[in-house]
Symmetry: C2
Subunit: 286 residues, 2 copies
Amino acid sequence: MAEGTAPAALGDSEFDRDTAVAARAAEPGAYDTGLSRGWTIMGAVNGGYLLAVAARALRDALPHPDPFSITAHYLTPSQPGPAVVRTQQVRAGRTMSTGQASLFQRDEQGNEVERLRVLAAYGELDALPDDVRTSAKPPVMPGYGDCVGSESAPGGRPVAGDTAILDRLDLRLDPATAGWAVGAPSGVGAIRGWLGLADGRDHDPLSLLLAVDALPPTAFDLGLKGWTPTLELTAHVRCRPAPGPVRVSLTTRNLAGGLLEEDAEVWDAEDRLVAQSRQLARVPRG
Amino acid sequence: MAEGTAPAALGDSEFDRDTAVAARAAEPGAYDTGLSRGWTIMGAVNGGYLLAVAARALRDALPHPDPFSITAHYLTPSQPGPAVVRTQQVRAGRTMSTGQASLFQRDEQGNEVERLRVLAAYGELDALPDDVRTSAKPPVMPGYGDCVGSESAPGGRPVAGDTAILDRLDLRLDPATAGWAVGAPSGVGAIRGWLGLADGRDHDPLSLLLAVDALPPTAFDLGLKGWTPTLELTAHVRCRPAPGPVRVSLTTRNLAGGLLEEDAEVWDAEDRLVAQSRQLARVPRG
């Protein structure tokens, strides 16, 4: 966040404006939106941002507000510009509902092309009981001040090319998992960092969907370069996050057959595991 | 497997017969099937079996044979008896395709009710490159002969009531994770075991979908009793399994807010991680 400016409020921030959806009066369940160039990297629209846009349409379409479990299949590359999200209520129960969404954009010929398809279960986080009985531990990593921002990475920003999304994020990597930026990946397959939004907006369940896919890919820490296209990503949002940046821990344990899984854990300032995700992605060819 | 009988062959076994689907001539993409009473426990049709039925219909409907990533949302309780699976090809690419399926049954009034909805990416496991670079290690557990079958559990079968599925499985639990059967759960939230099919059929990608949801729930090892209904389950099949029983390792790290995640890893006889899954389930009320 720039010095001397007030943090952006939940509901009035870059992320909120760029994920806004508008219900079509003439087509029930359909929402117009515009994919922002601000959440791209190397020309590609970030998959977590796309998921958040679809999730926001589903939040409007379903009787419950929060994505407890949400799966996206990425079908074709999204582009900055207009898009429409079509939603369907699959089931509505008392405490949970299930919905489906597809995000479409028009190609050069004006034909609609499906970019991603989403299946999700929504509930109300604030209505859940308070029981917590977890054996999961927060990631062991330095404090926010001892992690490295992209602006201070040796040799400059670690990712070459179009890095618009880095201007929207307050991302500080654990130096132990940032060696790839200077040609010395650890080989472990882990990336850890603190993640806030650059304008100071706090996290909410929707921005956690961004958080699980906003760090550099674990493939970088394995010494692989290039793009790691996500085939499928499933995220569970388990708790409303406390104010402040979250800690995100990414790990890959099984790279095989040209594919890898990438697991994310997101921990809030109160040491609660607020989100988990797993994605299946293609190994970079580079 | 009963002594003195030949093992059932892939394609000609209880599992194959009970997951068989028949394309409806008059309705493209629709498949009739019958849910078998043989895969029920405590009156409920096993979620992994249901996933395998839907996956089999998708295998027929899509141009690629193997479920690389498959997600199911369980909407209403399935019953043994007739069902129809309606499939949709979402996208067909050169090496992968995406499909959707819904399984319906009729209620007492004759109305169709959706039981589960599935979204999946299919590819061809045998066409994947041979690269393996994994840091994941097989679970540390006793050999098949030193694990305990349900028939030899102290006090008899560990699960009371209708346990038809146990007759179809060759399930041998690591004694360290079977204490709950005699009232002494470890409290760790882990269940490990060897899993084959009782008629000796070897595993294939479809039966791995059964395998990820066929062991007793981790909730038992946490000292919780009763049913753990799955809201959503996502499985990745990463490799065609070698012949013989697989090792399945289940863990739960975060029980909170009345929900828990259950992760499964499935390892084959050649020490390959052949499948991974995660499900979000409700904590038993008991």
